[in-house]
Protein backbone atom coordinates (compact mmCIF):
# COMPACT_ATOMS: atom_id res chain seq x y z
CA UNK A 1 0.00 0.00 0.00
CA UNK A 2 1.10 3.53 -0.77
CA UNK A 3 2.69 5.18 2.28
CA UNK A 4 0.77 8.40 1.68
CA UNK A 5 -2.57 6.56 1.61
CA UNK A 6 -1.61 4.60 4.71
CA UNK A 7 -0.86 7.88 6.50
CA UNK A 8 -4.31 9.25 5.57
CA UNK A 9 -6.00 6.10 6.90
CA UNK A 10 -4.03 6.07 10.15
CA UNK A 11 -4.52 9.81 10.69
CA UNK A 12 -8.24 9.51 9.97
CA UNK A 13 -8.40 6.70 12.52
CA UNK A 14 -6.50 8.87 15.06
CA UNK A 15 -8.97 11.73 14.55
CA UNK A 16 -12.00 9.46 14.93
CA UNK A 17 -10.57 7.58 17.87
CA UNK A 18 -9.18 10.45 19.94
CA UNK A 19 -11.53 13.29 19.02
CA UNK A 20 -14.76 11.34 18.53
CA UNK A 21 -14.81 7.89 20.13
CA UNK A 22 -12.75 8.68 23.25
CA UNK A 23 -14.66 11.90 24.15
CA UNK A 24 -17.94 10.17 23.36
CA UNK A 25 -17.14 7.39 25.82
CA UNK A 26 -16.09 10.00 28.39
CA UNK A 27 -19.30 12.01 27.92
CA UNK A 28 -21.49 8.90 28.11
CA UNK A 29 -19.80 8.13 31.41
CA UNK A 30 -20.34 11.68 32.72
CA UNK A 31 -24.00 11.86 31.62
CA UNK A 32 -24.70 8.39 33.04
CA UNK A 33 -23.47 9.67 36.41
CA UNK A 34 -25.67 12.79 36.10
CA UNK A 35 -28.69 10.62 35.27
CA UNK A 36 -28.27 7.71 37.66
CA UNK A 37 -26.82 9.63 40.60
CA UNK A 38 -28.69 12.98 40.69
CA UNK A 39 -27.78 15.83 43.09
CA UNK A 40 -30.95 15.46 45.19
CA UNK A 41 -30.00 11.88 46.12
CA UNK A 42 -26.21 12.16 46.01
CA UNK A 43 -25.46 15.72 47.15
CA UNK A 44 -21.85 15.03 48.11
CA UNK A 45 -21.11 14.12 44.51
CA UNK A 46 -21.83 17.70 43.46
CA UNK A 47 -19.84 20.26 45.47
CA UNK A 48 -21.04 22.83 42.94
CA UNK A 49 -24.14 23.20 40.82
CA UNK A 50 -24.77 20.40 38.30
CA UNK A 51 -25.40 23.06 35.62
CA UNK A 52 -21.79 24.12 35.92
CA UNK A 53 -20.68 20.54 35.30
CA UNK A 54 -23.06 20.21 32.37
CA UNK A 55 -21.57 23.37 30.85
CA UNK A 56 -18.05 21.95 31.26
CA UNK A 57 -19.15 18.71 29.58
CA UNK A 58 -20.67 20.69 26.70
CA UNK A 59 -17.46 22.72 26.34
CA UNK A 60 -15.47 19.48 26.22
CA UNK A 61 -17.73 18.16 23.47
CA UNK A 62 -17.53 21.35 21.37
CA UNK A 63 -13.72 21.50 21.70
CA UNK A 64 -13.41 17.93 20.48
CA UNK A 65 -15.71 18.61 17.53
CA UNK A 66 -13.60 21.60 16.51
CA UNK A 67 -10.40 19.55 16.83
CA UNK A 68 -12.02 16.84 14.70
CA UNK A 69 -12.76 19.41 11.97
CA UNK A 70 -9.17 20.65 12.25
CA UNK A 71 -7.98 17.07 11.77
CA UNK A 72 -10.04 16.57 8.60
CA UNK A 73 -8.71 19.89 7.29
CA UNK A 74 -5.21 18.61 8.00
CA UNK A 75 -5.80 15.47 5.90
CA UNK A 76 -7.19 17.64 3.10
CA UNK A 77 -4.17 19.92 3.33
CA UNK A 78 -1.86 16.87 3.22
CA UNK A 79 -3.73 15.71 0.09
CA UNK A 80 -3.61 18.98 -1.88
CA UNK A 81 -0.15 20.21 -0.83
CA UNK A 82 2.97 18.73 -2.39
CA UNK A 83 5.20 17.74 0.53
CA UNK A 84 8.50 16.00 1.10
CA UNK A 85 7.04 14.17 4.09
CA UNK A 86 9.91 15.40 6.25
CA UNK A 87 7.66 17.32 8.62
CA UNK A 88 4.70 14.89 8.64
CA UNK A 89 5.77 13.32 11.93
CA UNK A 90 6.09 16.72 13.61
CA UNK A 91 2.66 17.80 12.31
CA UNK A 92 1.03 14.55 13.51
CA UNK A 93 2.72 15.00 16.90
CA UNK A 94 1.46 18.57 17.33
CA UNK A 95 -1.99 17.59 16.17
CA UNK A 96 -2.05 14.98 18.92
CA UNK A 97 -0.99 17.66 21.40
CA UNK A 98 -4.01 19.71 20.31
CA UNK A 99 -6.22 16.61 20.66
CA UNK A 100 -4.89 16.24 24.18
CA UNK A 101 -5.95 19.78 25.26
CA UNK A 102 -9.62 18.96 26.12
CA UNK A 103 -8.44 15.96 28.18
CA UNK A 104 -5.95 18.16 29.97
CA UNK A 105 -8.93 20.43 30.71
CA UNK A 106 -10.77 17.43 32.20
CA UNK A 107 -7.75 16.70 34.42
CA UNK A 108 -7.62 20.31 35.66
CA UNK A 109 -11.39 20.28 36.16
CA UNK A 110 -11.05 17.06 38.18
CA UNK A 111 -8.44 18.69 40.46
CA UNK A 112 -10.71 21.69 41.08
CA UNK A 113 -13.70 19.37 41.61
CA UNK A 114 -11.92 17.37 44.31
CA UNK A 115 -10.63 20.55 45.95
CA UNK A 116 -14.21 21.87 46.18
CA UNK A 117 -15.26 18.51 47.64
CA UNK A 118 -12.56 18.69 50.32
CA UNK A 119 -13.47 22.29 51.23
CA UNK A 120 -17.13 21.37 51.71
CA UNK A 121 -16.41 18.18 53.60
CA UNK A 122 -17.50 18.56 57.23
CA UNK A 123 -17.16 14.96 58.33
CA UNK A 124 -15.32 14.96 61.64
CA UNK A 125 -14.70 11.24 61.33
CA UNK A 126 -11.86 9.97 59.16
CA UNK A 127 -11.20 6.36 58.34
CA UNK A 128 -8.12 4.48 57.19
CA UNK A 129 -7.03 0.89 56.78
CA UNK A 130 -4.17 -0.27 59.00
CA UNK A 131 -2.32 -1.96 56.20
CA UNK A 132 0.69 -0.76 54.26
CA UNK A 133 0.18 -0.29 50.52
CA UNK A 134 2.84 -1.87 48.35
CA UNK A 135 3.34 -1.67 44.60
CA UNK A 136 2.79 -5.41 44.25
CA UNK A 137 -0.70 -5.03 45.81
CA UNK A 138 -1.71 -3.25 42.62
CA UNK A 139 0.37 -4.82 39.87
CA UNK A 140 1.71 -8.32 39.39
CA UNK A 141 5.40 -9.10 39.72
CA UNK A 142 5.30 -10.45 36.16
CA UNK A 143 4.08 -7.10 34.83
CA UNK A 144 6.85 -5.32 36.76
CA UNK A 145 9.40 -7.77 35.38
CA UNK A 146 8.19 -7.19 31.80
CA UNK A 147 8.54 -3.40 32.21
CA UNK A 148 12.03 -3.85 33.65
CA UNK A 149 13.15 -6.30 30.93
CA UNK A 150 11.90 -3.99 28.16
CA UNK A 151 13.78 -1.09 29.73
CA UNK A 152 16.97 -3.18 29.90
CA UNK A 153 16.52 -4.27 26.26
CA UNK A 154 16.09 -0.60 25.30
CA UNK A 155 19.30 0.42 27.11
CA UNK A 156 21.13 -2.50 25.45
CA UNK A 157 19.77 -1.51 22.05
CA UNK A 158 20.90 2.12 22.49
CA UNK A 159 24.33 0.92 23.65
CA UNK A 160 24.54 -1.37 20.60
CA UNK A 161 23.63 1.41 18.15
CA UNK A 162 25.93 3.88 19.87
CA UNK A 163 29.01 2.15 18.44
CA UNK A 164 27.97 2.97 14.83
CA UNK A 165 28.14 6.75 15.24
CA UNK A 166 24.93 7.60 13.43
CA UNK A 167 24.91 11.37 12.85
CA UNK A 168 21.30 11.74 14.02
CA UNK A 169 21.58 9.41 16.96
CA UNK A 170 21.30 11.10 20.34
CA UNK A 171 23.14 8.24 22.04
CA UNK A 172 22.50 7.97 25.73
CA UNK A 173 20.25 11.03 25.63
CA UNK A 174 17.54 8.55 24.52
CA UNK A 175 18.13 6.55 27.71
CA UNK A 176 18.02 9.74 29.74
CA UNK A 177 14.67 10.79 28.25
CA UNK A 178 13.07 7.36 28.78
CA UNK A 179 14.54 7.12 32.29
CA UNK A 180 13.11 10.57 33.01
CA UNK A 181 9.69 9.37 31.86
CA UNK A 182 9.95 6.33 34.16
CA UNK A 183 10.95 8.58 37.08
CA UNK A 184 8.08 10.97 36.41
CA UNK A 185 5.61 8.05 36.31
CA UNK A 186 7.19 6.73 39.51
CA UNK A 187 6.55 10.08 41.18
CA UNK A 188 2.87 10.04 40.10
CA UNK A 189 2.48 6.46 41.37
CA UNK A 190 4.13 7.35 44.69
CA UNK A 191 1.75 10.28 45.15
CA UNK A 192 -1.26 8.14 44.30
CA UNK A 193 -0.22 5.45 46.78
CA UNK A 194 0.97 7.57 49.69
CA UNK A 195 -0.22 11.10 48.97
CA UNK A 196 -3.17 12.97 50.41
CA UNK A 197 -6.66 11.65 49.79
CA UNK A 198 -8.13 13.51 46.79
CA UNK A 199 -11.74 12.51 47.27
CA UNK A 200 -12.70 12.65 50.98
CA UNK A 201 -15.91 10.62 50.51
CA UNK A 202 -14.54 7.80 48.37
CA UNK A 203 -14.54 4.33 49.93
CA UNK A 204 -11.17 2.70 50.54
CA UNK A 205 -12.03 -0.10 48.11
CA UNK A 206 -12.79 2.40 45.33
CA UNK A 207 -9.62 4.29 46.06
CA UNK A 208 -7.66 1.06 45.72
CA UNK A 209 -9.31 0.41 42.36
CA UNK A 210 -8.42 3.95 41.23
CA UNK A 211 -4.80 3.53 42.29
CA UNK A 212 -4.63 0.14 40.58
CA UNK A 213 -6.08 1.53 37.36
CA UNK A 214 -3.60 4.42 37.35
CA UNK A 215 -0.59 2.18 38.07
CA UNK A 216 -1.53 -0.31 35.36
CA UNK A 217 -2.09 2.53 32.88
CA UNK A 218 1.26 4.16 33.66
CA UNK A 219 3.19 0.90 33.47
CA UNK A 220 1.51 0.05 30.15
CA UNK A 221 2.29 3.54 28.82
CA UNK A 222 5.90 3.24 30.03
CA UNK A 223 6.26 -0.05 28.12
CA UNK A 224 4.57 1.49 25.06
CA UNK A 225 6.80 4.57 25.10
CA UNK A 226 9.94 2.41 25.37
CA UNK A 227 8.89 0.19 22.47
CA UNK A 228 7.93 3.28 20.47
CA UNK A 229 11.37 4.84 21.11
CA UNK A 230 13.03 1.62 19.86
CA UNK A 231 10.83 1.59 16.76
CA UNK A 232 11.66 5.24 15.99
CA UNK A 233 15.40 4.61 16.39
CA UNK A 234 15.15 1.51 14.19
CA UNK A 235 13.27 3.36 11.43
CA UNK A 236 16.08 5.88 11.21
CA UNK A 237 18.76 3.23 11.40
CA UNK A 238 17.20 1.24 8.55
CA UNK A 239 16.51 4.37 6.51
CA UNK A 240 12.72 3.96 6.40
CA UNK A 241 11.85 7.25 8.03
CA UNK A 242 8.86 7.66 5.76
CA UNK A 243 6.96 5.43 8.22
CA UNK A 244 7.70 7.66 11.20
CA UNK A 245 4.48 9.70 10.92
CA UNK A 246 2.45 6.46 10.69
CA UNK A 247 4.15 4.85 13.69
CA UNK A 248 3.74 7.96 15.85
CA UNK A 249 0.03 8.01 15.00
CA UNK A 250 -0.29 4.30 15.87
CA UNK A 251 1.53 5.02 19.12
CA UNK A 252 -1.05 7.72 19.97
CA UNK A 253 -3.80 5.16 19.31
CA UNK A 254 -2.19 2.92 21.92
CA UNK A 255 -1.85 5.78 24.42
CA UNK A 256 -5.53 6.68 23.89
CA UNK A 257 -6.63 3.08 24.32
CA UNK A 258 -4.61 2.67 27.53
CA UNK A 259 -5.94 5.94 28.98
CA UNK A 260 -9.50 4.79 28.38
CA UNK A 261 -9.35 1.91 30.88
CA UNK A 262 -11.62 3.51 33.48
CA UNK A 263 -13.15 1.59 36.38
CA UNK A 264 -16.69 0.37 35.65
CA UNK A 265 -19.39 2.66 37.06
CA UNK A 266 -21.48 -0.20 38.47
CA UNK A 267 -18.47 -1.28 40.55
CA UNK A 268 -18.20 2.12 42.24
CA UNK A 269 -19.83 2.65 45.62
CA UNK A 270 -21.93 5.80 45.12
CA UNK A 271 -23.72 5.44 48.47
CA UNK A 272 -20.88 7.37 50.11
CA UNK A 273 -22.12 10.49 48.30
CA UNK A 274 -25.55 10.33 49.94
CA UNK A 275 -26.31 12.52 52.91
CA UNK A 276 -26.11 10.78 56.25
CA UNK A 277 -29.61 10.23 57.72
CA UNK A 278 -30.52 12.85 60.32
CA UNK A 279 -30.50 11.66 63.92
CA UNK A 280 -34.01 11.22 65.35
CA UNK A 281 -34.80 12.09 68.93
Amino acid sequence: MNIELLLYIVLFSQIMFLSYYYPRRMLIRIYTIFKNYPPNEFPKLYPESIDKYKKSAKRYQVMNHLIMVLGFSLILWFYVTPRTGKWDQVIVFWYFMIQFIPNLGIELWSMKYHKAMRLLNQDAQKEAVLQPRRLTDFISREFLAIAFVIYVIFVGYVAYLDQFDYPWFGGYLNVLIISGTYLFFGFIIYRAMYGKVKNPHQSYEDRKIDIQTLIRQLFSIAIAVTIYAMVQISLRAFGIEAYKAITISLYFHVIGFLSMQWPRLDFINFDVYKDKPALTK
Binding site: K126, A128, L130, V197
Partner: protein, 124 residues
Amino acid sequence: MKIQIDNNLSTPLFKQLMDQIKKAVIDGLLKPGDSLPSIRQLANDLDLNHNTVAKAYQILERDSVIQTKGYRGTSIHGDAKQNSTVDMNDSITTKLSETIKSLRESGATDSEIRIAFSNVMKNQ
Protein backbone atom coordinates in the same frame (compact mmCIF):
# COMPACT_ATOMS: atom_id res chain seq x y z
CA MET B 1 -8.57 -3.64 59.72
CA LYS B 2 -9.99 -0.13 59.72
CA ILE B 3 -9.19 2.69 62.11
CA GLN B 4 -11.38 5.72 62.77
CA ILE B 5 -10.45 9.15 64.06
CA ASP B 6 -13.00 11.65 65.30
CA ASN B 7 -11.99 15.32 65.38
CA ASN B 8 -14.96 16.19 67.60
CA LEU B 9 -13.84 14.00 70.50
CA SER B 10 -11.94 15.61 73.37
CA THR B 11 -9.41 12.75 73.35
CA PRO B 12 -6.21 13.84 71.58
CA LEU B 13 -5.87 12.44 68.07
CA PHE B 14 -2.60 10.59 68.80
CA LYS B 15 -4.29 8.95 71.82
CA GLN B 16 -7.26 7.85 69.68
CA LEU B 17 -4.81 6.28 67.27
CA MET B 18 -2.84 4.53 70.03
CA ASP B 19 -5.96 3.25 71.78
CA GLN B 20 -7.38 1.76 68.59
CA ILE B 21 -4.14 0.03 67.68
CA LYS B 22 -3.87 -1.39 71.22
CA LYS B 23 -7.51 -2.51 71.13
CA ALA B 24 -6.97 -4.21 67.78
CA VAL B 25 -3.99 -6.05 69.26
CA ILE B 26 -5.97 -7.11 72.35
CA ASP B 27 -8.92 -8.24 70.18
CA GLY B 28 -6.56 -10.26 67.99
CA LEU B 29 -7.25 -8.21 64.86
CA LEU B 30 -3.57 -7.32 64.72
CA LYS B 31 -1.11 -10.13 65.39
CA PRO B 32 2.65 -10.08 66.12
CA GLY B 33 4.55 -9.44 62.90
CA ASP B 34 1.63 -7.78 61.09
CA SER B 35 2.82 -4.77 59.11
CA LEU B 36 1.50 -1.29 59.81
CA PRO B 37 1.31 1.54 57.29
CA SER B 38 4.10 4.12 57.19
CA ILE B 39 3.65 7.39 59.11
CA ARG B 40 3.20 9.28 55.82
CA GLN B 41 0.56 6.88 54.48
CA LEU B 42 -1.51 6.83 57.66
CA ALA B 43 -1.24 10.61 58.20
CA ASN B 44 -2.36 11.33 54.62
CA ASP B 45 -5.17 8.77 54.74
CA LEU B 46 -6.53 10.27 57.96
CA ASP B 47 -5.73 13.85 56.94
CA LEU B 48 -3.62 14.26 60.07
CA ASN B 49 -0.34 16.04 60.69
CA HIS B 50 2.60 13.62 60.25
CA ASN B 51 3.83 14.54 63.75
CA THR B 52 0.57 13.30 65.29
CA VAL B 53 1.00 9.83 63.80
CA ALA B 54 4.74 9.90 64.55
CA LYS B 55 3.98 10.67 68.21
CA ALA B 56 1.49 7.77 68.45
CA TYR B 57 3.99 5.39 66.82
CA GLN B 58 6.80 6.64 69.09
CA ILE B 59 4.82 5.97 72.28
CA LEU B 60 3.63 2.58 70.99
CA GLU B 61 7.22 1.68 70.18
CA ARG B 62 8.35 2.81 73.65
CA ASP B 63 5.66 0.56 75.15
CA SER B 64 6.81 -2.33 72.89
CA VAL B 65 3.45 -2.60 71.16
CA ILE B 66 5.01 -1.95 67.76
CA GLN B 67 8.56 -2.16 66.42
CA THR B 68 10.34 -0.42 63.57
CA LYS B 69 12.93 -2.32 61.58
CA GLY B 70 14.56 -0.04 59.02
CA TYR B 71 13.42 -0.65 55.45
CA ARG B 72 11.01 -3.39 56.58
CA GLY B 73 8.85 -0.72 58.13
CA THR B 74 6.71 -0.88 61.24
CA SER B 75 5.11 -4.05 62.55
CA ILE B 76 3.38 -5.40 65.64
CA HIS B 77 5.76 -6.39 68.44
CA GLY B 78 5.98 -10.02 69.58
CA ASP B 79 4.80 -9.12 73.10
CA ALA B 80 2.27 -6.55 71.89
CA LYS B 81 -0.79 -8.24 73.42
CA GLN B 82 0.73 -8.33 76.88
CA ASN B 83 2.12 -4.79 76.58
CA SER B 84 -1.13 -3.35 75.27
CA THR B 85 -2.89 -4.08 78.54
CA VAL B 86 -0.40 -1.93 80.46
CA ASP B 87 -1.49 1.67 80.67
CA MET B 88 1.56 3.82 81.36
CA ASN B 89 -0.61 6.67 82.73
CA ASP B 90 -2.22 4.34 85.27
CA SER B 91 1.14 2.95 86.26
CA ILE B 92 2.66 6.43 86.76
CA THR B 93 -0.36 7.62 88.74
CA THR B 94 -0.21 4.58 91.03
CA LYS B 95 3.53 4.94 91.68
CA LEU B 96 3.28 8.69 92.31
CA SER B 97 0.31 8.25 94.66
CA GLU B 98 2.28 5.71 96.68
CA THR B 99 5.30 8.01 96.86
CA ILE B 100 3.21 11.07 97.87
CA LYS B 101 1.40 9.02 100.51
CA SER B 102 4.68 7.84 101.99
CA LEU B 103 6.12 11.40 101.94
CA ARG B 104 3.03 12.75 103.72
CA GLU B 105 3.32 10.00 106.32
CA SER B 106 6.92 11.03 106.94
CA GLY B 107 5.75 14.60 107.65
CA ALA B 108 6.35 16.46 104.36
CA THR B 109 3.82 19.14 103.46
CA ASP B 110 2.11 19.30 100.01
CA SER B 111 3.97 22.52 99.26
CA GLU B 112 7.34 20.91 100.03
CA ILE B 113 6.44 17.89 97.88
CA ARG B 114 5.44 20.16 94.95
CA ILE B 115 8.69 22.19 95.17
CA ALA B 116 10.80 19.05 95.44
CA PHE B 117 8.93 17.41 92.48
CA SER B 118 9.40 20.54 90.40
CA ASN B 119 13.13 20.70 91.21
CA VAL B 120 13.66 17.04 90.39
CA MET B 121 11.84 17.42 87.05
CA LYS B 122 13.92 20.49 86.19
CA ASN B 123 17.18 18.66 86.93
CA GLN B 124 16.27 15.61 84.81
